[in-house]
């Protein structure tokens, strides 16, 4: 088995040391990787599946698959991007099982540009998230993103919530960079449109 290569002149990162140790059978090292990324994987899984039990299963299955296949990880991408790819595939598989009547695919490019054209142009109140309690806000955001096609919300969560770059998102989803950008734009615009009714400035709101 080849060692994971680092760029010339760069010392191995803490992560690549952990990955290398885990590949040699050090479960403690793998546990450190689990601790590092379990929250992210759970968040991604729940955004895609919209179901907590499925998200729990996805986290377990994704990490187990990663452990079993560490030998195939070449270190050309970050471990996290590789893990996300496994987790997204697991999450989409669970979603398909729950919704066999609907096609669920990351390649799904369901609608035309017009679907994302802004219909309501309304200014929002300043700090709109402060209009609601934490739990009300979570409820609003959860319901709103749930209405997006899975391929859109997957791109949005990786890019805008988890902060992966466009290139990393494309690699994790096996999509082209233009396809990621197109879905991201439409996801952002559709979410904005749907959030209007909760956050728009009301009559009599005189704050700047």
């Amino acid at each position: 088995m080849e060692a994971i290569e680092n760029k010339v002149g760069e010392p191995p990162s803490e992560e690549s040391i952990l990955v290398e140790a885990a590949r040699s059978g050090d479960i403690g090292a793998f546990e450190s990787l689990v601790r590092r990324y379990d929250r992210n994987v759970f968040r991604i899984a729940q955004h895609i599946t919209q179901n907590r039990e499925d998200a729990e299963d996805v986290v377990q299955d994704a990490f187990l698959k990663a452990y079993q296949n560490l030998g195939q990880f070449q270190g050309q991408s970050k471990f996290y991007t590789w893990l996300v790819r496994i987790a997204v595939n697991e999450a989409l598989m669970r979603l398909r099982r729950r919704r066999p009547e609907r096609t669920v695919s990351i390649d799904e490019d369901v609608k035309t540009e017009e679907d994302s054209m802004p219909r309501e142009i309304a200014d929002w109140t300043p700090n709109p998230e402060q209009l609601y309690t934490q739990s009300e806000l979570k409820d609003i955001l959860g319901k709103t993103i749930q209405g997006l096609p899975p391929s859109f919300r997957t791109v949005f969560v990786l890019r805008d919530v988890e902060g992966l770059s466009t290139e990393e998102t494309a690699a994790a989803l096996e999509l082209s960079v233009p396809a990621v950008k197109s879905r991201l734009l439409r996801a952002r615009l559709q979410l904005r449109e749907r959030l209007n009714k909760y956050f728009k400035r009301r009559d009599g709101d005189t704050r700047p």
């Binding site: 059978g25 689990v34 955001l141 919530v161």
Partner: protein, 98 residues
């Protein structure tokens, strides 16, 4: 620049991944087009609200349960592999024939 052209570039503009000339053209459009100004600002807020929302946090109790399950499964996989692996012979030593 038309509003539809502005919208096409919105993602790159919000991510600040565009050349300075296109950026200047978009900002010029924003100076006089109130609708695009509002769409741009509210889309930016949409991203910020989701990013800061703590939506779908993993509770500690569930986290520790998931950890135990993952590590137990990995251990099981490792033990299975070890017991299935052929007997290791140190380098330079021939396995004695029976």
């Amino acid at each position: 620049m038309k509003c539809s052209d502005f919208l096409k570039e919105l993602t790159d503009y919000l991510d600040d991944t565009m050349d300075s000339q296109t950026k200047a053209e978009l900002e010029e459009h924003l100076q006089w087009c109130h609708n695009c100004y509002v769409v741009c600002n509210t889309t930016k807020s949409t991203i910020e609200i989701y990013r800061g929302s703590k939506l779908y946090e993993l509770p500690d109790e569930l986290r520790s349960r998931i950890h135990s399950a993952i590590i137990a499964k990995c251990q099981c996989h490792k033990n299975g592999k070890e017991s299935a692996a052929p007997e290791q012979v140190p380098l330079g030593q021939e396995k004695p024939s029976k």
